[in-house]
C-alpha cells in the first residue's frame, strides 16, 4: 500500500511516516496541499489513499481535497485535523472525503482506516 500524507507540521509528518513504514506501508509526504495535488496528478501507479490535514498555510485541506477529487474521483482522501469543526466535517464529507478523523489518533486506528480506504479505491466504479 502506498499512501500520501499531507501536513504542514513537519514533526508530525516524520512521526507518522516512521510509524507507517514500520508497518510496511509505503509513505510519501507533502507539507502543503498544492504540492500534494501535484503529486496526486503525476503519481503512477496512483496512491492507494491520502491522509490530509485541514488547516494549512496557502491552499487548505478542503481545497486540496476538492482538486484531488477532480483529478482522481475514486482516490480515498481521509481528513485528519487537530481542529474539530462541524462545518469542516460537513464540507469535507460533502466534498467526498473518505473519513474525518481527529488528532491525536492511535496509529492502529489510522492503519485500519487506510486499509479500508485502499479497498474502496480498488472497487470497480
Amino acid at each position: 500500500m502506498h499512501v500520501l500524507i499531507v501536513d504542514d507540521e513537519v514533526e508530525f509528518l516524520s512521526l507518522i511516516q516512521k510509524r507507517l513504514e514500520h508497518r510496511d506501508i509505503q509513505v510519501t509526504t507533502a507539507n502543503n496541499a498544492s504540492d500534494a495535488v501535484k503529486l496526486v496528478m503525476k503519481m503512477n501507479p496512483p496512491f492507494n489513499a491520502v491522509v490530509m490535514d485541514v488547516r494549512m498555510p496557502g491552499m487548505d485541506g478542503l481545497e486540496g481535497l476538492h482538486r484531488m477529487k477532480q483529478i482522481a474521483p475514486s482516490l480515498p482522501v481521509i481528513l485528519l485535523t487537530g481542529h474539530a469543526s462541524l462545518s469542516v466535517a460537513v464540507s469535507g464529507m460533502e466534498l467526498g472525503a473518505f473519513d474525518y478523523l481527529l488528532k491525536p489518533i492511535a496509529i492502529n486506528e489510522l492503519i485500519i482506516k487506510l486499509e479500508d480506504a485502499a479497498r474502496t479505491g480498488a472497487l470497480p466504479v
Binding site: 474539530a84 462541524l86 466535517a89 460537513v90 491525536p104 470497480p124
Partner: protein, 881 residues
C-alpha cells in the same frame, strides 16, 4: 477484513465456480454492497458510541462521579457524530442506487442547528492597558478581574486602607496574546490534548508556558506599564517592592474561585516587574489551573489574566477572615453566627498556601465584635518583605512562638473590618488582610464567601462530642481529629504525594494524603475520592477547591502521611475519622456534585444534545418513519440502519435474498437468514434454505453452539418467535407492542464467510451486533459485541449492561459501558480461544432476554451474574486440552 479475503478467495481462489458473465456481475455488485453495508455498520457503531458517551457525560453515575469535558470534547463529539452519520447516509445511498437522497436536507437541517449552538465568541474587553487603583470600580470586573475590581471598590468607596498600585487589564493581556499570536496556537494545542490525561496536560502546560516566557511584551504595553510604575517609584523610592497578584476575569462561571490556581509573586523589584507579569500570565497555564478550568467547564479564552501590581505591605501579621461561620456551631456564642479569623505571624501567604496550621480566632458579630475564643496553630517560621533581599523566611523565636499572631484587640479590629465589608457588599465575605508594623490593618482582598459546603473550624469540645457520636467504634481506626475542610465520605487506596512529580503516579479514585495543603495538589482533586492533609487551614486555597468539587477533606491529621500510606481507607468527615478498610455503607452516597453545572462548556453540550441524542423514530412500519421526520442524528442512524438491513436481507428485494439469503433449517425453518459471502457453506445451496450441517463457517457454528447449549431454566425458544421478543413483555412503550407483531422484527441476519460472522439481531427497538473474525492467524482475530437500549427501564438497562460487561470481562473481553450501551471486544487471541469467546456471546445473547424479566427482583442481579459466570466459564473450558 476476512470478508475481503473471502471475497478474493471467492473470485480468485482455488475452487472457483464456473461463472457466467451475469453471475460475475451479480457477485461484483454483491461485493460492493457488502462493503458499503459493513462501512455503514462501522459508522453506525462510531455514531452510537459518541452518543452514548455524550449521554454519560450529561448524567453522572452515582459511583465515580461524572467525567468532566472541555470545549474540545464538545466540538469534537459534534464533528465526529456528524461525519459518522454523513457516512451512513452515503453508504445507504450507495446500497440503494441513491434512493435516500432526501436524508440530506434533514441532515443539513440538524447539522445547522448543532452548529448554531457551538458558535462561541469570546468577550472583547476593550479599554486601557493599565488602570491605577484609584480609578478602578467594582463595575470594571471584566477589565481588571474580580480581585482588583473589589480592591478598587474598597479603596475608593469603603474607605479602608489598601496597598497602592495599578492593574494590567484584560485589554493589556489580549494585546500581548494577539501580538504574539498566542491564543490561536494555544487553542490548537489544547484541542489536540486529552485534558483528562495528566501526563499530556503536563506536556501541554510546559509547551505553552515556554511560549509565553519567550513571547515579546508589545512596546505599547511596556510603555503603559512603566508610566503606571513611575509614580510608585517616586513615592516609595529605593525601598519599593511590589506584589504581583493574578486577578482573572471569571464572569462566565458562578462560584468559580480559581483559588490558588494562578501565581501571586511577592517582594518583586520594580525593574523585574514586567518579567514577573509575564510569569503570572504563564501561570494561567499551570497544570493545576488548566485542570481546574477543565473540571469546571471554563473556556480558556473566556479567562483573560489581569494582574494587580501593588506595593508590598511590610506585614507583621496577616491572614484570612470569614465574616460568618458558614455552618452552625452550637458550641460558640450560643449557636449565634460568628466571625472566624485565621492568622499567622509575618506575611499572610502561609495561610492560603496551607504551609502550616494558622492560629484561629473566633469573634462575635456584634458591634464592636468581642473575641470568643482562640485556638493556637503550629507556626514555626514567618515570611517577611525585606527591601534589600526581597522575600525572606525567618524562624520564629521561642518567645514569638509563644505569642498568638494577633492580640485580642487586633483580632477584634480585623473582625470589625470583615463586618464592614459584609455590610457594604450585603453578603458574607472572605477577606485577606495584613497588619503593618505601625499597627494599621491593610485589606489585600475581599470576595464573597462560598457557603455551598459546610466549613467547620478547629475542633471544640462540643464538636468533638458530635464527631464521637458518629464514630463507628466497631471499625479499625487509623486516625481521628483535625478539621473538616469539606464534608463527606470517601474511600479508596491512600496515596501519599510528597513531591509535585508524584502527581503523575496518583491512582484515579485514590485517597490523596499530603503533608501540606499546597495549592498545586488541586490538580489531583478531580481524580481523588477524598483528601487528607497533615497541616493547613480550612481558609486555604486547597480547602476552597475541595469544597467546590464536593470532595471530602480532613485537614490537620497528624502523621497521616506515615499512618495511611498504601492502605485501603475510608475517610468520614462527620466522625473526623479515617478507618482502615473500605466501608461503603457508612453514609449513603450523596448525589454526585457537578462542578461543571452552569459552566459555558456544559451549556454548550447541553444545547446540542437535543439534536444528536434523542430517538424519535421508533416504529419502522409507521408513516413517520421517514427522512422528513428525522429530528436528530440518532434518528438518521436508526433510519439508515433499518433501511440498509432491509435492502440487504429483505425477501422482497430481488437482488440480494433470492440468490444469497438462505433461511436456516435445523429440523424446521428458523427465523435466521444467512448470507454467505464466500466458503461459508460446504456445498452450494440452490434452494431457499440451508441446513446447519452444511455450514462450515466456524464462528457461526461457535455462536450457534453458545446459543443452544447450557439451558437456562428450561430450553430457550429459538423458534419463530424471535429470541429477543421476550423483552417485549416488559415493555413500557406501546410502539414496541406493534413492532413485535411485525414480521421484520423477528428475523435475525447473519453475514458469513468461512472465517467471519456478523449477526444483526433485534433487541427491543435497537440492534444487537456480534461481529467476529476467526482465522489461524491470531493477529487477524477479533470477537466483538455491541448492544444498547431495549424495552426495560433505564435503570435496569444500565444495570444489565454493567452486569453483562462484568461477565464478559471475566472471560477476557475488554468492555466499555456508556450509559446503557455495551461495547465489548476480545482481540488477537488464537483460533480456539476466539471461538470459545464467540460461543460465550451466543450464550449471553440468548439469555440476556431472560435477564430483563427478573432483574427487578431484589438479589437477582447477583444470582444471575453468578449463574452466567459459571455457564460462560464452562463454555470457555470446553475443548480445552
Amino acid at each position: 477484513m476476512s470478508l475481503f479475503d473471502g471475497i478474493k478467495r471467492f473470485f480468485g481462489g482455488s475452487s472457483p465456480a464456473v461463472v457466467d458473465e451475469a453471475a460475475e456481475a451479480l457477485r461484483l455488485q454483491m461485493q460492493a454492497r457488502c462493503l458499503h453495508f459493513r462501512r455503514l455498520l462501522a459508522a453506525n457503531k462510531a455514531a452510537l458510541e459518541i452518543m452514548a458517551d455524550i449521554e454519560e457525560r450529561m448524567t453522572p453515575k452515582a459511583k465515580g462521579g461524572y467525567r468532566p469535558f472541555d470545549m474540545t470534547y464538545v466540538r469534537s463529539a459534534a464533528a465526529r457524530s456528524v461525519a459518522a452519520v454523513f457516512q451512513m447516509i452515503n453508504n445507504l445511498n450507495a446500497l440503494s442506487d441513491r434512493a435516500y437522497e432526501d436524508l440530506k436536507p434533514a441532515f443539513s437541517r440538524i447539522a445547522r442547528n448543532i452548529d448554531k449552538h457551538l458558535g462561541y465568541v469570546p468577550p472583547s474587553h476593550e479599554g486601557p492597558l493599565v488602570l491605577p487603583l484609584s480609578e478602578i470600580r467594582a463595575s470594571d470586573v471584566s477589565l481588571v478581574g474580580g480581585k482588583m475590581a473589589q480592591l478598587g471598590e474598597v479603596a475608593n468607596h469603603v474607605n479602608l486602607p489598601v496597598p497602592d498600585g495599578f492593574a494590567v487589564t484584560a485589554a493589556g493581556y489580549n494585546l500581548f496574546m494577539a501580538v504574539n499570536n498566542l491564543q490561536e496556537s494555544i487553542d490548537l494545542r489544547i484541542q489536540q490534548t486529552d485534558s483528562s490525561d495528566l501526563k499530556s496536560l503536563l506536556e501541554l502546560s510546559h509547551a505553552i508556558q515556554q511560549r509565553i516566557y519567550m513571547a515579546v511584551v508589545p512596546q505599547e504595553l511596556a510603555r503603559a506599564f512603566e508610566e503606571a510604575l513611575e509614580p510608585l517609584r517616586v513615592r516609595y523610592g529605593k525601598d519599593l517592592r511590589l506584589a504581583l497578584r493574578s486577578s482573572a476575569v471569571d464572569e462566565d462561571v458562578k462560584d468559580a474561585s480559581f483559588a490558588g490556581q494562578f501565581s501571586t509573586e511577592l517582594s518583586i523589584e520594580a525593574n523585574d516587574a514586567l518579567d514577573v507579569w509575564r510569569e503570572i500570565i504563564a501561570s494561567k497555564y499551570s497544570v493545576a489551573a488548566m485542570s481546574y478550568r477543565f473540571t469546571r467547564g471554563i473556556l480558556d479564552d473566556s479567562v483573560p489574566m489581569c494582574v494587580g501590581v501593588l506595593v508590598m505591605v511590610d506585614a507583621v501579621a496577616g491572614g484570612v477572615a470569614y465574616s460568618q461561620n458558614p455552618t452552625p456551631a452550637p458550641e460558640v456564642a450560643g449557636g449565634q453566627p460568628h466571625i472566624v479569623i485565621n492568622a499567622v505571624h509575618g506575611l499572610p501567604k502561609p495561610v492560603v498556601d496551607g504551609s502550616f496550621s494558622p492560629d484561629m480566632f473566633r469573634c462575635s458579630r456584634a458591634f464592636p465584635p468581642v473575641l470568643l475564643d482562640t485556638q493556637r496553630g503550629n507556626q514555626t517560621w514567618r515570611l517577611r518583605n525585606d527591601p534589600e533581599q526581597g522575600l525572606v523566611s525567618l524562624d520564629l523565636t521561642e518567645a514569638e512562638q509563644a505569642q498568638p499572631a494577633l492580640r485580642p484587640e487586633q483580632a477584634c479590629a480585623v473582625a470589625r473590618m470583615a463586618l464592614m465589608l459584609e455590610e457594604y457588599y450585603g453578603a458574607a465575605q472572605d477577606v485577606e488582610w495584613a497588619i503593618t508594623a505601625d499597627g494599621g490593618i491593610v485589606l489585600l482582598q475581599s470576595r464573597a464567601l462560598k457557603t455551598a459546603q459546610p466549613v467547620e473550624e478547629e475542633q471544640s469540645n462540643a464538636e468533638q462530642e458530635e464527631a464521637q457520636r458518629h464514630l463507628r467504634t466497631n471499625l479499625p481506626l487509623l486516625a481521628q481529629g483535625g478539621v473538616v475542610a469539606s464534608a463527606g465520605v470517601g474511600l479508596g487506596s491512600a496515596f501519599v504525594a510528597r513531591r509535585e512529580r508524584d502527581i503523575l503516579s496518583f491512582p484515579r479514585g485514590g485517597v490523596l494524603v499530603v503533608e501540606q495543603a499546597q495549592p498545586y495538589w488541586a490538580t489531583l482533586l478531580p481524580r481523588a475520592a477524598a483528601l487528607v492533609c497533615e497541616a493547613g487551614g480550612t481558609a486555604g486555597h486547597l480547602a476552597s477547591v475541595a469544597r467546590e468539587y464536593g470532595l471530602p477533606a480532613l485537614f490537620g491529621i497528624s502523621h497521616a502521611t506515615t499512618v495511611l500510606d498504601g492502605k485501603e481507607v475510608t475517610v468520614d468527615t462527620q466522625a473526623r475519622a479515617v478507618y482502615d478498610g473500605l466501608y461503603e455503607d457508612i453514609v449513603p452516597p450523596a448525589p454526585a456534585h457537578n462542578p461543571m453545572a452552569s459552566s459555558p462548556v456544559y451549556a454548550a453540550l447541553e444545547s446540542i444534545v437535543p439534536f444528536i441524542v434523542p430517538l424519535n423514530l421508533l416504529d419502522p412500519e409507521s408513516e413517520h418513519f421517514a427522512p422528513a421526520y428525522c429530528e436528530t442524528l440518532h434518528d438518521i442512524t436508526r433510519f439508515c440502519h433499518e433501511k440498509a438491513v432491509s435492502l440487504l436481507f429483505d425477501q422482497e428485494d430481488s437482488t440480494s435474498s433470492k440468490t444469497y439469503g438462505k433461511q436456516l433449517k435445523v429440523g424446521k425453518k428458523l427465523q435466521y437468514w444467512i448470507m454467505d459471502m464466500a466458503d461459508g457453506f460446504k456445498k452450494p445451496v440452490t434452494g431457499s434454505t440451508v441446513e446447519l450441517d452444511n455450514i462450515q463457517c466456524q464462528p457461526l457454528l461457535a455462536l450457534w453452539e453458545g446459543m443452544t447449549s447450557v439451558p437456562w431454566e428450561g430450553p430457550p425458544s429459538i423458534d419463530a418467535s424471535g429470541f429477543m421478543s421476550v423483552v417485549m413483555e416488559s415493555t413500557m412503550k406501546p410502539q414496541l407492542e406493534t413492532m413485535a407483531e411485525n414480521a421484520m422484527q423477528q428475523k435475525n441476519f447473519f453475514i458469513i464467510d468461512r472465517n467471519y460472522v456478523n449477526l444483526q439481531a433485534r433487541f427491543g427497538y435497537h440492534f444487537c451486533t456480534v461481529d467476529a473474525n476467526v482465522t489461524e492467524n491470531p493477529h487477524e482475530n477479533y470477537v466483538s459485541f455491541q448492544f444498547k437500549g431495549g424495552a426495560a427501564s433505564a435503570e435496569r438497562r444500565i444495570t444489565r449492561a454493567h452486569m453483562v460487561a462484568r461477565v464478559l470481562e471475566a472471560q477476557g473481553f475488554r468492555c466499555d459501558v456508556k450509559s446503557d450501551a455495551l461495547f465489548a471486544i476480545a482481540e488477537g487471541r488464537d483460533q480456539h480461544a476466539s471461538l470459545r469467546r464467540v460461543a460465550v456471546l451466543g450464550h449471553l445473547l440468548l439469555h440476556t432476554r431472560q435477564i430483563d424479566m427478573v432483574m427487578n427482583r431484589p438479589g437477582m442481579v447477583q444470582r444471575i451474574e453468578e449463574k452466567l459466570l459459571a455457564e460462560t466459564t464452562m463454555i470457555m473450558e470446553r475443548g480445552a486440552a
